[in-house]
């Protein structure tokens, strides 16, 4: 296991930007929960409330030209990478203005322009593509990196194994970000993985560089991600980021979490990455409120935009099947 150099590259103003980014995601997803409960949103959705520091910390370390693949819990990664909130919200409403033009939905957010190769609703489904992109960057000798986000539960699928094995074997320009929130739907880590409390052990099977990170500390995540991206970009091989984080809400919106203890929920609540950053920055209530108000304003605008956006024509369903 590698250790991360600790001298921070993150100044105060950057940290404030991180807070803005995390608040945007938090308020966005709270609004999504509200509108879903109100019956306005089709399908089913997953929020990453509690995991904002991972999205912001990693995406802020990515550079122009870098690409990534996300999961069923994709709002945070997508917003953190800069896709306009209007386009993301519109997608959740299944509108033409959505970032996938209404074809994808919450679990299939795409934004090729910003290197978003797609959120994936099949666990592990996006990992091989990220290895393949990292291979292409290596073959063409481009200073680009492909990043995969996935959860602890995803480390149990064969696709995960084949992807990490191949990435290390070929030293593709890839970074694997494991968001270990200790839950796979209703299944706690100890019930789904023999190494649930130390996912970095997975990397040992490939001799892959692994780094443990506190996923509630956005600065630490950013630093680890920056170092990992450098490593991969330089062609020194892929890196496995073992990020410890917390799922503060249910697996999906509306999940009664009958399977989850009060204590476990409380523990998650006690690890809110936003409160933590707020303290770290020593913000007064007023300062924080103004950050918050900005975020809220953007989200409200996104909602207005999405609600008044355009429905696809039914027959559009037969478009985009082939190039």
């Amino acid at each position: 296991m590698a250790k991360v150099e600790r001298e921070s590259t993150v100044d105060e103003e950057t940290l404030r930007d991180f807070l803005r980014g995390m608040l945007l995601i938090r308020r966005f997803e709270e609004k999504v929960e509200e509108r879903f409960r109100a019956g306005e949103l089709p399908g089913f959705l997953h929020v990453a409330i509690g995991q904002e520091a991972v999205a912001v910390g990693v995406c802020s370390a990515m550079e122009e030209g870098d690409v990534f693949a996300s999961t069923h819990r994709a709002h945070g990664h997508t917003l953190a990478r800069g896709t306009p909130p209007n386009a993301v919200m519109a997608e959740l409403y299944g509108k033409v203005e959505g970032c996938s033009h209404g074809y994808g939905g919450s679990m299939h957010l795409y934004d090729l322009e910003r290197g978003n190769y797609g959120a994936n609703a099949v666990i592990g489904g996006g990992l091989p593509a990220v290895v393949g992109a990292g291979l292409a960057f290596k073959l063409r000798d481009e200073p680009r990196v492909a990043v995969a986000f996935f959860g602890d539960g995803a480390t149990n699928i064969g696709t995960f194994h084949e992807s990490l094995n191949l990435a290390q074997l070929w030293k593709t320009k890839t970074v694997f970000v494991c968001e270990n929130n200790h839950w796979a739907e209703s299944t706690p880590g100890w019930q789904h993985s023999p190494v649930w409390d130390d996912m970095s052990k997975r990397a040992l099977a490939y001799d892959m560089r692994a780094v443990k990170v506190d996923g509630q500390d956005v600065e630490a995540v950013h630093e680890a991600a920056r170092e990992a991206l450098e490593h991969a970009r330089a062609g020194d091989g892929p890196v496995f980021l073992d990020v410890e984080t917390y799922r503060m809400h249910g697996h999906y919106i509306g999940d009664p979490q009958v399977y989850r203890s009060k204590d476990d929920r409380q523990e998650a609540a006690d690890h809110d990455p936003i409160s933590r950053l707020r303290e770290r920055l020593g913000l007064s209530d007023d300062e924080f409120e103004s950050f918050d108000a900005d975020a809220q304003r953007v989200v409200d605008e996104a909602l207005r935009f999405a609600q008044s956006a355009t429905d696809p024509k039914p027959e559009d369903a037969l478009e985009n099947v082939y190039a």
């Binding site: 299944g94 074809y103 699928i157």
Partner: protein, 325 residues
């Protein structure tokens, strides 16, 4: 007869089978404390405990494969693949292993495994959570394939599948879980390979499976109003297929429509059409109509999703074409 939902009927069959036989146990993702992503297995953990109601990691290949090994070792596992889209992760074990062990061993091995899965569109789950893939399994010798449309059928057929000594792939449909229907007080096993005439009629036969059985009945009622008498037949078991029941009906009505939610192209309806045109050639007064999903993945936006999947109106239109109205 009491009314129960399709969901309760599945749960009944699982519970009854587990009570009746120690060798029956269930495995799948989130089937224990949560009771399954569709709530089907709720309560079973409390009654049977964690040894027989097993939450698994996200490992579709191993879920099926361990089921195969346990079955070879004398158990009767019932494994669940949460969405049939994820069958794509376990087909190696289903197709190369479960379906072929008995054959490759020259009859030594028995694999009494039941693989439950569910899927289906109509609620905007998106392109990776709504596919209907039953046709694939029908192509594979060594597998039995079941796709019930009512609470009574799903309960009786699941019981029989569990006690069948062959691997059975058992399809349920997401939209059918809340559907209520009458079931006998006592669980009555239903034999595999027997179709059911859901509605009698004289002008045209609609062979329908899963949710399309219900949409076909709607269409039949509407057709009635226009003076068209529709017979609706549900094969229930796709493999083995009760060909004679389908053929007999068509020989009576001289017209046929085949309906399912899966993509029409290369869907189960193709096989039924091929069988019917062959065995009832001289009886057919019109081309066999196929009703299924249009040729596209399932979009998220409800208007697009609804445009792709088949509705009662589509069945009705097909019925009318067969009678030239």
């Amino acid at each position: 007869m009491p009314d129960v939902t399709y969901r309760e009927a599945v749960r009944d069959a699982l519970g009854a089978a587990m009570r009746a036989d120690e060798s029956v146990f269930i495995m799948g993702e989130d089937i224990a404390e949560m009771g399954g992503s569709m709530g089907v297995t709720q309560g079973l953990l409390d009654e049977f405990g964690p040894e027989r109601v097993r939450n698994t990691p996200i490992s579709e290949m191993a879920i099926v494969g361990t089921g195969i090994g346990a079955a070879m070792a004398g158990m009767r596992p019932v494994v669940e693949i949460m969405y049939e889209d994820f069958l794509t992760l376990s087909l190696e074990q289903i197709v190369n292993q479960a379906a072929k062990h008995r054959y490759m061993s020259g009859g030594q091995v028995t694999v009494p495994l039941t693989i439950r899965t569910q899927g289906g569109a109509g609620w905007s789950p998106g392109a990776q959570h709504a596919q209907q893939l039953e046709a694939w399994l029908v192509h594979i010798p060594g597998l039995k394939v079941v796709y019930p449309s009512t609470p009574e059928d799903v309960r009786g057929l699941l019981w029989t599948s569990i006690y069948d000594d062959n691997p059975v792939v058992f399809f349920e449909h997401r939209l059918l879980y809340p559907v209520k229907g009458p079931v006998p007080e006592e669980l009555e096993p239903i034999p595999l390979g027997k179709a059911r005439v859901v509605r009698e009629g004289t002008d045209v036969t609609v062979v329908a499976i899963g949710p399309l059985v219900h949409r076909a009945l709607e269409a039949a009622t509407k057709a009635e109003e226009e003076g068209i008498s529709v017979e609706v037949v549900d094969p229930r078991t796709l493999q083995p297929l009760d060909e004679s029941a389908l053929v007999e009906s068509v020989k009576k009505t001289n017209r046929a429509v085949v309906a399912h939610e899966a993509v029409t192209r290369m869907g189960f309806g193709a096989e039924v059409a091929a069988v019917l045109q062959y065995q009832a050639f001289d009886y057919l007064d019109a081309p066999i109509e196929r009703v299924g999903a249009k040729f596209a993945p399932l979009a998220f936006a409800p208007v697009m999703e609804q445009y792709v999947v088949p509705h009662a109106e589509d069945v009705l239109a097909a019925i009318k074409r067969t009678v030239g109205k």
